[in-house]
């Protein structure tokens, strides 16, 4: 099967993002211009987002290596939106960075393209290439301010551990191929119908380990806080949002389509990992004095909750996972956005220590309001988007009678409430004479500030009136069948 025009139309978002990356590269070679580069990147990402409307007409469609279905389009929207958010944040962040600033957008576009491929992959080759295209630019983005020791450390740490994760993934793929002789997901599931056998099971397990590294599921989570803390704000934002969404979607696709993952033993393993992830993530977040580290541990815990959707993996599982991903993404983008804005423009290490946030309310009331709303949403308080996601997850767990997991979610949320509240209390403490890092005075009218305010509004809106989001997720879900 070769590529036809219809296939090219279906791949339009990916092609547009790649073309934008090439245009940005040529632009840098011709003349360096920070705002111009950022503008071209944002226009390209927006065009890709708009082109999804055209793709909507031809979906669902199977190109030779990629599946353009509801799940892929859903993930594409989330990835493109978070890439846009990262681009606006990067523009504010890198404004006064002394070194070359334009390459960041090039890397961001490449990573976004990788995310699009990964989320749409229905073949182990595109899965691998997408994952690498997602991770490779992230090494550069995390180590972007490499004169800062911690940024370089974050980049190298992510490089080494992500390479180890990739090795596990490749070994798993090799075992699956040895068992079945197929690399495409449809062929894999067809060959594994009469039971996966020991090699298929081992392969599925190893792939789970490899993807678990990227999702920082608990035994493989050790890199997360250091990398989040060390990496520059926009890069950490991308890592916490787009990268995780893409990897989770591909894991969801694997679990939903490949019968090797339907094995009871593997499901028990997933359940144990989910329980461990939500508890350990929340417990380790308790003692953090750095907001980026805290958000790192909190994202570990949130992916523990999300794993419940994979463990159940029938009925409302896909919808639950999708709704939770949307709420997580909006909230995380908002929280990281505030941290990044406070550290903008670049001036050494990011202002992420909790002491930087002491009394923020008395200096920047609106920014504080945004951070408060996102913290409430992360804790899953009603009238915020986070509550809707958590409600879905608990409902799914109760319906499937996975009481251990439901208990884990409840305990985890209770622990989470403590450290999210601690952050909020810090924001309102008065401490005279504190000279802390601050956002630029006109942050509210800049692209990054507008974006963050909009996200906070969206968090509240979706918390009060979630119907449009649920409708949208359902519409995407019907495309799958």
């Amino acid at each position: 099967m070769t590529l036809t025009l219809t296939h090219l139309v279906a791949l339009l978002p990916l092609i547009l993002v790649c073309v934008t990356a090439v245009v940005v590269m040529l632009g840098i070679a011709w003349r360096r211009h920070h705002s111009g580069t950022a503008f071209v990147s944002v226009v390209g990402l927006n065009l890709a987002l708009l082109s999804l409307l055209i793709v909507w007409q031809v979906a669902p469609l199977e190109t030779p290596l990629l599946a353009v279905d509801g799940l892929a389009m859903f993930a594409a929207v989330l990835i493109l939106v978070s890439s846009l958010a990262c681009a606006t944040l990067a523009h504010a962040y890198l404004e006064h960075y002394g070194g070359p600033r334009e390459e960041f957008y090039l890397l961001l576009l490449c990573a976004a393209a990788g995310g699009l491929v990964l989320a749409a992959s229905q073949h182990l080759a595109t899965l691998f290439f997408g994952l690498e295209l997602l991770s490779m630019p992230l090494y550069g983005m995390l180590a972007y301010t490499f004169h800062e020791r911690r940024s370089l450390e974050a980049g190298i740490k992510y490089l080494v551990l992500s390479a180890a994760g990739t090795a596990f993934l490749l070994f798993g793929m090799a075992l699956l191929y040895a068992q079945t002789g197929r690399l495409d997901l449809a062929g894999l599931s067809a060959s594994l119908v009469e039971g996966p056998g020991p090699w298929g099971l081992a392969g599925a397990g190893l792939m789970l380990v490899g993807l678990g590294f990227k999702l920082s599921i608990v035994p493989f989570h050790l890199w997360t806080p250091d990398v989040y803390e060390g990496g520059p704000g926009p890069a950490a934002t991308f890592l916490a949002s787009a990268s995780k969404v893409a990897v989770f979607v591909v894991l969801l696709r694997l679990v939903l389509s490949a019968p090797a993952f339907e094995d009871a033993w593997l499901h028990d393993l997933l359940a144990a990992l989910a329980l461990l992830t939500m508890l350990v993530g929340n417990l380790l977040a308790l003692t953090q004095a750095n907001l980026k580290r805290l958000l790192g541990y909190s994202s570990i815990a949130h992916f523990g909750y999300l794993l419940v959707a994979l463990v159940v993996s029938d009925g409302l599982a896909a919808e639950t996972g999708a709704v939770y991903l949307v709420t997580y993404l909006i909230t995380t983008l908002g929280a990281f956005g505030v941290v990044t804005l406070l550290s903008s423009p670049y001036g050494g290490r990011d202002a992420a220590g909790l002491h930087h946030f002491r009394g923020l309310f008395w200096r920047r009331p609106y920014l504080t309001a945004v951070l408060t709303v996102t913290m409430l949403s992360l804790a899953g308080i009603p009238f915020t988007a986070g509550f809707i996601g958590k409600f879905y997850i608990i409902a799914l767990g109760v319906e499937a009678e996975r009481w251990w997991l439901v208990g884990g979610i409840v305990v985890g949320s209770a622990i989470g409430l403590y450290y999210y509240l601690r952050v909020m209390v810090t924001l309102y403490l008065v401490e005279p004479g504190m000279q802390s890092r601050d956002a630029p005075h006109n942050w509210g009218i800049r692209a990054g500030g507008v974006m963050v305010l909009g996200l906070a509004l969206l968090v509240v809106l979706l918390g009060i009136y979630p119907a449009p989001m649920i409708e949208w997720v359902r519409a995407m879900g019907t495309l799958n069948g």
């Binding site: 070769t2 590529l3 790649c18 393209a113 630019p137 180590a143 490499f146 001036g347 050494g348 290490r349």
Partner: protein, 179 residues
């Protein structure tokens, strides 16, 4: 031919073990070259001569020789001659040499028996077949590979840059404060 496959695979595994346990980078690299040649032999035995040839030309030929040269150039100095002499002790090159000799014996025996088409199973995978797949249905993967290389190149050139970024005046105070 099955014997050739298993022996080459064993050589590759042992040589890779040698890479991991070697304390000296040059020895590790020599082991790595043997390991890559062993993998190439495995490809030949499986009936994929194109992949085998690429493995030798690209990995063992170009990349590893580059590695060895860089490592050797980094060691320039007074102590180099002594070190070189110390490196030439038989105990050090014996391992790679034995493994490489084993590969040579496998190759010689296979060639001596003369049956080129004697592969484990399946038809021979030629360069034409690989090209047809790559630039037909897998075109997307080739393009993605190009994007991947672009990202890697930009990352390497950015992080490898020597110049220090200039500090913007006016942000200095906050830099100290933030650090």
């Amino acid at each position: 031919m099955e014997v050739a496959f298993y022996l080459s695979g064993l050589v590759a595994v042992l040589a890779t073990l040698g890479v991991v346990v070697s304390v000296n980078p040059v020895h590790a690299l020599l082991y790595l070259i043997v390991s890559l040649i062993g993998v190439a032999m495995v490809f030949f035995a499986l009936g994929a001569p194109f992949a085998g040839a690429l493995e030798i030309i690209v990995y063992a030929g170009a990349i590893m020789v580059l590695f060895v040269f860089v490592v050797m150039m980094l060691n320039l100095g007074e102590a180099v001659v002594d070190q070189e002499r110390a490196w030439l002790k038989p105990g050090i090159w014996r391992g790679p040499a034995v493994l490489a000799a084993l590969l040579l014996v496998i190759l010689a025996v296979t060639l001596w028996r003369g049956d080129i088409g004697m592969v484990i199973a399946g038809e021979t995978l030629t360069a034409k077949a690989v090209g047809m797949t790559l630039f037909g249905p897998w075109l997307l993967v080739v393009e993605l590979g190009a994007m991947l290389l672009l990202a890697a190149l930009v990352t390497a050139s950015h992080v490898g840059r020597l110049s220090t970024p200039r500090q913007t005046p006016g942000r200095d105070a906050s830099t100290k404060e933030g650090a």
